[in-house]
Symmetry: C2
Subunit: 179 residues, 2 copies
């Protein structure tokens, strides 16, 4: 099968969180065009459930969209870090809880049209208090939310980012009975 | 409540699809740091159903991740374009079908940690053949897929991007009875 081929690649910017490159590609018909690619570390996204079947959601200001969102915990995997270790670290940093049980329940590319980021989806349970200090998490507020309310909050738009919707609905409707 | 404030903003790159800026922000505790923000047009994402209850999925190569994915149709809203017009145009360009019925069923930010993009989610039905030529769609192959198979394809990872998972599960489990 004819495929799109990468002809060349130019790095435009290397930042703290993202790297931007522009690839020149040749399409199956022979036409040349460019693709702008945002490189970002792979991440973990976490459905965290406490003993009372509350989902630990986080409310925080998002600079990119200029407003606060209510999301599931998530964060980048450090170079060489195991995803499960990243789940435990992010949980401690962002929620103050260390999960005693961490189980992979799925995963997805966040925006494959122009970013490289893949999100590993985990279920985190048996949460014990164990805070860990980190940069950039000072303005996160925790919002424990009954699992039974999640579908209505997604339907109403109260939860409105792709990873939270995909992760929570996948857990509730596809994985709950298996974990 | 103390909030993160934007102190200054510098545009790094303006491309065909993305614009990159770096904001300097001051956190509630007074610390200054930077946020890298990828600006991208808002988009439409489409759950398209034919008369036989097949979902129209698209298989295409994604340069950013170096592989083919199976996704729901989606695309950028042109400046000044109505989202419903964007749905009809994207459907014609990418699938060759013009939906006679287009209904908003939700929406979400794709990656609010570092991009501005919001995806308006639509259900498109009553599909009639009406192809429209466009750039960049030559290598899309259509994969009509029974709606009943979608949950298993998400659970197995055959469908593995956030917008497709969020859009399809929201339609199937939260919206189907209402549309």
């Amino acid at each position: 099968m004819a495929e799109t081929k990468t002809v060349s690649s130019e790095t435009i910017f290397t930042g703290r969180a993202v790297k931007l490159r522009v690839d020149t590609v040749q399409t199956p018909s022979g036409r040349r065009t460019t693709r702008e690619v945002v490189e970002h570390a792979d991440c973990v996204a976490i459905v965290a459930l406490d003993a009372n079947q509350n989902v630990i959601l986080e409310r925080q200001f998002r600079e990119a969209i200029g407003k606060e969102l209510l999301e599931i915990p998530a964060g980048g995997i450090d170079p060489g870090e195991d995803p499960v270790a990243a789940v435990k670290r992010e949980m401690q940093e962002e929620t103050g809880f260390l999960p005693q049980r961490v189980k992979r329940i799925g995963g997805f590319y966040s925006t494959p049209g122009y970013t490289t980021e893949y999100l590993y989806l985990y279920l985190a349970t048996d949460l014990v208090p164990s805070p860990l200090e980190a940069e950039d998490t000072e303005s996160i507020r925790l919002v424990p939310t009954p699992l039974s309310e999640i579908p209505n909050m997604i339907a109403s738009g109260a939860i409105c980012d792709a990873k939270s919707i995909a992760g929570l609905l996948a857990y509730i409707y596809l994985k709950k009975e298996h974990v």
